[in-house]
Each structure stands twice: as C-alpha cells, then as structure tokens.
C-alpha cells in the first residue's frame, strides 16, 4: 500500500520535470505553427501602410505560390545543396577511410581533424561576408590570380550564375566536410577489426576493402548523414542571403526557399509566408520521419544509430 502511493508521487515528478520543455515547445513552436497554418488560408498582407485582410481565401495562396517562382527557388536550393554535398561526401569518405587506416600512418591526425572542423564553427554570415569581400572584382583572390598570371582580367565571380553558385557550394563544402568526416570516421571505427583482418587474410586490397566492407557496413550512418544534410540544405539561408544581399543575384538564380520566405516575412505578406511555410513543413515532416525511423533503435532487432553512437562514445 505504502509503496503504491510512493510510485504515484514519483510519477508526478516526471511530469514536473518535463513540463518546462513541453510548455516552451507548446508556446514557441506549436502555437506559431498553428498560427502559420491558419493564416496560410487567408489573404493577409500589407501594401504600403494599409493592411489588407485577413480574408479567408481557401487554397488560393497555395495555388499562387505554385504559379510563382517557388519551384524555381526549390530548384536553386537543390542545385546549391548538390554542389556542396557531392564533394563533401566524397572527400569525407576518403578522409574517414584514410584516418582510420593504421597502415597509412597519417601524421598529425589531431591537427588535421582540428583544422578541417574549424570552418563548421565559423559564423556563416561572417564567412559569407568574407567570401564576398575576397572574391569581389577588386578583391584579394582576383589580385592573387592576376599576380601569378593565371588570369589577365579580374573574374566577376558574383556576376555569373556559375560563379555565385560555385561560391555558395564551396562555402557549404568547406563548412561541412570536416563534420561529416568525423561522423563517418566514428562509424568506420565502430566496425569490428576482425572483419578487416579476415578480409586481409583473404587477399582483399584497399579498394576492395573500401567498397565491399566499409561502405556497406556504414550505410546506416551514410543514410543518416544524407537525410540530415538534406534538411540542412532545405534551411540554406545565411550564406546565399549575405553573399547576394538577399537578392539571389544574378537573376534570382541563387535564391533559396528560406530566402523567399524571409522576403515574404520582411514585406509582411503573412498569407504567402504561411502557405510557403506549410509546404516546407510537409517536406521537412517527411524527412523528419526518416530520421525518426533511423534514430529509433528500440523497435527492431538491429540496433539503430543511437545505440551505435552510444557504443562508439564509450569506446572513446
């Protein structure tokens, strides 16, 4: 009897301890989300100082978004993400495989790890501003290239579609390849050394080992990296926003979806911003579902990412 009463009072503490989290989530995420969805069905914007709406218009905002340049911006976002992601994953896989290969005797491992992770912590907006300054027509990069006689005239990096997109891709690559390398490295270190030793006895060379053993065994973490990177790419904002001053120049070819959302929010077009947010919410909801499936290891016999990461953490 006494015990039972005790367990009830402990349950109360569980609720008390998780209350702040859920209260904060409810106020600052759930209410805004509901509000966003609600206004996506309204005509509600500001023209000059006059506020128009809110008038219920049904799905009109959604339709007019599809007719606007939204799909073009979605395409831009994908292109910018791909330009950064492909070199990132290739280099990260290579480096991760090399870092854990004892036979290669990589020197100054810790130094390289520290350096390649450094750009990940840099303020993206400051990094973009730095690139803007360095790559401007009379900036240091053009001066250096001209001084060593690679080019005769300064290149207008930010004047061409290719130049701008490459710069955004380069920045995303530099900011994330170190992080991905370290994630994948930890994944490879989680593979039992017995497997590698057995493969060696069977006469497996390093290329076979990489494609036949390492890659298949780290596939869950690779998939996880891919999905989280897509979610990150969907949120791409700071770098192209600062680099192009929010214009997505040239000709809005580097305008991302979040930049589009930002411009609607700045001009107080709440109806459109709401509908755009709902589109983004649906896409990220689907992606979140994949992450959820991957991180939740307790519903199946094969351990999920979480269990693996924990195991790795203990190994040090």
């Amino acid at each position: 009897m006494k015990k039972k009463r005790k367990s009830i009072s402990y349950a109360k503490w569980g609720y008390i301890f998780i209350l702040p989290f859920f209260a904060s989530f409810f106020i600052f995420s759930f209410i805004p989300l509901a509000d966003t969805i609600r206004y996506s069905f309204f005509e509600y914007y500001r023209s000059g100082i006059k506020e128009i709406g809110p008038n219920f218009v049904g799905m009109e905002n959604y339709v007019s978004l599809l007719e606007s340049d939204m799909l073009k911006y979605a395409g831009n976002t994908i292109i910018l993400w791909v330009i950064g992601f492909i070199p990132q994953i290739v280099i990260a896989l290579l480096l991760a495989a090399w870092f854990v290969d004892i036979r290669l005797k990589i020197h100054a491992k810790q130094f390289f790890k520290v350096v390649i992770y450094l750009p990940n912590l840099i303020m993206a907006s400051a990094f973009a501003m730095l690139f803007f300054t360095l790559f401007s027509t009379n900036g240091p990069i053009n001066e250096i290239l001209m001084a060593i006689k690679i080019i005769k005239e300064p290149i207008d990096f930010m004047g061409s579609i290719f130049g701008t997109r490459s710069l955004v891709g380069l920045m995303n690559f530099l900011m994330w390849f170190g992080n991905t390398t370290i994630m994948l490295m930890a994944a490879i270190m989680g593979i039992s050394t017995d497997i590698f030793e057995a493969s060696e006895l069977d006469g497996c060379n390093s290329i076979q080992r990489f494609f036949r053993i390492t890659l298949p065994l780290i596939r869950p973490i690779l998939a996880y990296t891919l999905i989280t990177s897509i979610i990150g790419g969907l949120q791409m904002f700071d770098v192209p926003q600062i680099l192009t001053n929010g214009q997505g120049r040239p000709d809005r070819t580097s305008m991302t979806l979040i930049m589009f959302l930002n411009s609607h929010l700045k001009s107080k077009n709440y109806g459109m911003a709401g509908a755009l947010s709902v589109y983004l919410f649906i896409v990220s909801g689907i992606l979140c579902f994949f992450v959820y499936r991957m991180t939740n290891g307790n519903n199946s016999d094969k351990p999920g990412i979480s269990a693996k990461l924990r195991k790795r953490a203990r190994r040090g």
């Binding site: 349950a11 805004p32 966003t36 390289f112 450094l118 907006s125 992080n179 929010l265």
Partner: protein
C-alpha cells in the same frame, strides 16, 4: 612487398590531399587576419601576404564607429548565447532525467514526440513565431532569442543517451532512501554526473546561438540590440564600396575570432563531442 609500396604511395597521396584541404580551410582566414592589419590605402594598392601595422588603428576605428556598434553587438551576442546555452542544457537535462528516471503514463508518447521533432527546422514556424512575439510585446528584445531554447530536442536526445550510459538508477534510489528530495537529487547528484555532456552541449548551443542569423534578423530592429550576425548583414547591405576596407576585415575578424579561440582551446572536447549526439545542428 608490393602492398607495402602501394600503402606508402597511398599515404603520400593522403597527406597531399590533407595538406591541400587544410590549406583551403586556413587560407581564407589567413587573408582575413593579414588584411585586418592593413590600412585602406594599403589594401587598394594590392594584396600583400605580410601583415601590416594598422591592426590597432583598424581596431580603434571599429570600436569608435557609432553606425556599426560592434562591441555592443558582441555584448548582446554574449548575453543571448550565454543564457541560451545555460537554460538549454539545464532544461534539456531536466527533461531527459524526467523521462529516464520516472515511470508515468505519457512517458512513451512524450519521448516519441520529441524524437519526431528532433530535426524539424525552426524556419517553418518563423511566421507564427514572429506574430506571437509581436503580440506578447517582446518584438525587438533579446528575450525571444533566449527563452525558446528551453525546448531543444537534439540536446535532449544527447542528454538522454548520456543518462542511459552513465546514470545507474540505484543511485537515485539511494539518494531517496537518504531522504533527498527529487529536485535536490537532480541538482546535487544527477547534474554533477552529467557535467561532461553538459559541457559539450553548452559549447555547441553557444556556438549555434552565436552564429544564428535567421530568427534574430526577424525579431531585432534597433541598433543597440543587434547581435553580431545582423551587424555583419547590415554591413553587406550598406554602401559597401565607400567603406574603409581595413575596417571591414577587422569587423569580420572580431566576429569570428572569439569562436576560433574558444575552439582552439577546447578542440579536443569539441571533436570528441561531435559524434556523441549524432545530430547535426
């Protein structure tokens, strides 16, 4: 014999690529630091790889510029990032402990819910958030940048994993038998055990909040409340060509150097911490 030669060849290639990549990572910051030491006139003459003597002068001209209150910005950023990191780690630990140590009816649902929103981008609720903050009278203040970090699913997940691996529930039982209250047990016994996890997550949430640009740019209007990323963005929007270039480099340097210094001091823990949570921020 043959495989040994192949290995040494691969080793050389690996080192060359690593040096190139490290060079790429450091080169831009090298130019930044060097250019921050030159005057505007020097920079106009062309790039020089050697540092100049204008470091202090550029620093002072940034410090005395009223239109871009950089040091006020740094103070604001420190307040926001410091408070966010503190409440984010404390409440995430509290939530993780609540879900880990207690049994209650909605435990599983609560956990599943947090896992489902683990990587949900904040941008999708930005519009409602902006309206909510305006209605609550917190528009153009630092509070809405701090308080919502109480609910950080990824930090919660990290803390929860950490508790699973390092907090035996018998310890909690023991403290109960000794007559310790539940809150006291958490603050005096569980928190000290979680110190390493808290340190790692505090660093990451500090950096994340320090670098955050999207939400602050929507909320903050007045100059004296701007955080560093917004100031950098206004710098980009300003009439850039008429600027003292030495000063621009100095401003960017002031924005990134504090984080670089902290990183270099704590790099060992940060690198070890990246993989622990397994969630990219």
């Amino acid at each position: 014999m043959k495989s040994k030669r192949a290995d040494s060849l691969r080793s050389v290639i690996a080192h060359v690529l690593l040096v190139i990549l490290s060079f790429m990572c450091l080169f831009f910051f090298y130019i930044l630091v060097v250019n921050a030491t030159h005057s505007h006139a020097d920079l106009q003459k062309g790039f020089s790889a050697l540092p100049g003597g204008h470091l202090i002068k550029n620093f002072l001209s940034v410090a005395n510029d009223g239109t871009f209150p950089m040091f006020r910005g740094i103070l604001n950023s420190l307040i926001v990032s410091g408070c966010s990191a503190a409440i984010c780690t404390y409440f995430s630990s509290l939530t993780a402990y609540g879900l880990y140590a207690y049994d209650f009816k909605f435990k599983k649902i609560a956990f599943t819910f947090i896992m489902a929103i683990l990587v949900m981008p904040t941008q999708v609720t930005a519009m409602g958030f902006l309206r909510l903050v305006t209605n609550m009278g917190m528009y153009d203040s630092l509070l809405p940048l701090i308080i919502p970090s109480i609910a950080s699913p990824s930090v919660f997940y990290f803390m929860y994993s950490y508790l699973q691996s390092s907090l035996p529930l018998s310890l909690v039982e023991a403290s109960r038998i000794d007559g310790c209250g539940e809150f006291r047990t958490f603050n005096k016994i569980v928190l000290p055990i979680m110190k390493p996890a808290i340190a790692v997550q505090a660093i990451f949430s500090f950096v994340g909040s320090w670098n955050n640009y999207f939400v602050p740019a929507l909320i903050i209007q007045s100059k004296d409340k701007m955080t560093v990323p917004i100031l950098i963005a206004t710098l980009r929007g300003a009439d850039y060509m008429n600027f003292d270039m030495g000063k621009i480099y100095m401003m960017i340097m002031i924005a990134v150097v504090p984080i670089i210094l902290v990183y270099l001091l704590l790099s060992k823990y940060i690198i070890a911490g990246i993989t622990l949570g397994g969630v990219k921020e």
